[in-house]
Symmetry: C2
Subunit: 79 residues, 2 copies
Amino acid sequence: MEVRIELKPGVMDPEAESVEKSLALLGLTSVPHVTTARIYDLEFHGVSISEARQLADEAVERLLANPVIHRVTVRRGPT
Amino acid sequence: MEVRIELKPGVMDPEAESVEKSLALLGLTSVPHVTTARIYDLEFHGVSISEARQLADEAVERLLANPVIHRVTVRRGPT
C-alpha cells in the first residue's frame, strides 16, 4: 500500500519554499511552484488486500499523519 | 511534473526502520516492510510540456537528488 502524505492547503511548506528560492538562485529559466509530499510504501506479507488497506489506515491514523495539517491518500501501489 | 526521489537499494533508510519499529510497538497485527520516498511536485506556468520536463530534469540534477544514493523518476502528474 502506498501512503501519500501532503500538507493541507494553507499549511506552511518551508522545504518547498526553499526549493523554489534555490531554483531561482540557480538561474532556472522558469521557476515552478513547488509542493512536497512524503510517501511511505508499506509492503505487507501474508494478508489480503482488504486487510492490508485496513492496516495501512491504522498506521496512518496512529503513527504517520497528523489530521490537523496532513491530507492523506492510501492506494495500492507503488505504480 | 512530479519528481519522485527514492533511496537506491542498499542505502540505509532510518526513517523507514523507525516506522517499522513503531508499528511493531503499537501492536499492529502485521508489520509491513516500509520504504520511503520524497515527492516534489513542480508546477510550471507558461512553458510547454517538453520544456517543463527539461526544467524538471535540470532541477533534479542541480538541486534535488544525489545520484550516488537516489533513484529518481520524473513524470507528468500528480495523478
